[in-house]
Amino acid sequence: MLAAVGLAQEHGAKSSDKEMFLISYESGLQPISINRIHNWVVHVETSDGSPVAGATITLIGGMPDHDHGLPTLPLATRYLGDGDYLVEGMKFHMNGWWQITISITVAGSSDSVTFDLQL
C-alpha cells in the first residue's frame, strides 16, 4: 500500500556469525513496504557455495529503537530446493530501522545472521 521511504536494505549474501553459512533473502514484496503481509525466500549455502538442504530456519525481527518485535511470527513453511526456503508471514508495521535475525540449524549445528533494514 505504501512505498517505503528511504529504502536501504541489506540483503545480499552475508556470512553467518560463525561463518558456517552464506545467507541471503529475497522479498516477495518489492520494494518492501509497511502494513503488507508477504513472503520471503531465504537462501542458505555453505561458505564454499553449496546449497544447504534439510535446515531448520527460524526468523525473528524487531526495531531496536522501539524495543518491539515484528507484528507477526513468520515461519519457514517449505523447502523449495537449491538451498531456498519459503518464509511466510513477514510484515512490517512501521518505517524505520529493523533487524531481522535468521537462525539456521543443520544436523545439530546452529548459526545465525542479522540483517539490517531501513524502511
Partner: protein, 402 residues
Amino acid sequence: MQFPRKIGAILAITILLVGAALWFMRPPAPGAWTEAEIELLRSLWIGSLPPVPADPGNAVADDARAARLGQRLFFDTRLSANGEVACATCHQPERLFTDGLDVAQGIARGERHTMSIVGAAYSPWMFWDGRKDSLWSQALGPLENPIEHGGNRKQYAEILAADEQYRTEYEAVFGALGGMTDHEPAITQVFVNMGKAIAAYERLLIPADSRFDRYVQALLADDERQFDSILSDDEAAGLRLFIGDAQCINCHNGPLFTNNEFHNTAVLPARGKLPSMGRVAAVRETRADPFNCLGRFSDDPDANCAELRFARTGDDLIGAHKTPSLRNVALTAPYMHAGQMNSLVEIIEQYDRAPLALVGHNEANPLNLSRNERKQLEAFLHTLSSPLATSPEWLAAPTAVR
C-alpha cells in the same frame, strides 16, 4: 586607534557568524518540504488509500443488496435483549460512528470505548485487542454479548424469518431462509449471514478528504499559492512534528493514520479498573473462534489467512492496544481503549512524557516538546476532520424499517 578597529572587526565577524548560525538554524518555512517529507505526506494522503481490500471469506462483501440488508440490521433495535440496542446505538452516524461516551453503553455499561468503524474494512484485526479477524466475524460478537445487544442467534433468526421485508431481502442474497428456527446449524448459518450483510454495509463507510488532504494534494500539484493558504503556519508546523520529531507517524501511518497493529503506550487503565492485557490475551481467542478466517463459515476454504496463521503474541504485546485511525480525531472524543482521555491535549502530553507502563513496557520515548510545539501538534490534528465519502442514504436508518 588600532584597538577600536579591532573590536569593530571582531564585532562585525561575530554578528556575521551569529546571523549565519541563526539563518541555518531557522525553522523551515511552513510550506518547505524535503523530497523525503513529501513522500511521507503522500503516504498519509487520502489519495493513497487503495480500494477496500477484498474479503474472500465473505462472498457478499461487495453485493449492494447485502449492504442494504446489512444497513437495515445495523439500525434495528429489535436485535437486542430489550428491543433498545442496535449497532447504531454505539456507532452513531452523526458522531462519525462513535458514541461520545467513555465506554460503550448497550444493555449494560461496557469495558471498552466504542471505536469508529469508518475505514475498519482496511484492518486485518477488529476490536481494541484484535480478537476478531474480519468485519463479518466482528459484527457477530456484540450481537450475543450479554452487555451489548444481549440477545442470541435463535432470537435474531426468528425476527428475520417473521419479518416479510427481512425475509425477502435475505433470501434474495443468501437463498431460502426455510423454517429453521429450531435447527441449530441453520440458525448459526443465518447468524453468520447477518454478520456478512452488516460487513457489506460497513465496507461502504470510508472517510472523505480533509483539509490536510487538500493541502497535500495542492503540494503534490506544485500549487504553492493554494497549499500555503490551506493550513495555517501552526498547523503546518504541527504536521512537520507529526511526521518528524514527535514520531506520531511511527504508528499512525498510511492514509487512515493507523497501522492497525498493537502498541503499549502506557495509557493508564480507567479509574478503578485493572490494566487491560490487550493484544497478548487475544490471539488465542481468535485462533479458537469458529468464525475466524480458517473456520468453516468462511466462504473461501482456500483462503491464505496469513494474518491469522502467523499472528504473534509475546511480552512486548502485554498491554498493547490497536492504533486507532486519527481521521476525525478532533470530533470523536473521548479517547483510548477505555475512554480514559478526554482531550487531544491530554494525549499529546501523554506521548510527550512517555511515562512507565503499569503492565508491559511503554514503546514510546519522551519527546520533550515545547508548549508551543504541543499546541502546533494539536492544531494539526484538527485538520484531519472530514465528512464521509459515503453517499448520505447510507448514513441513517433505511426508511422502511419497522
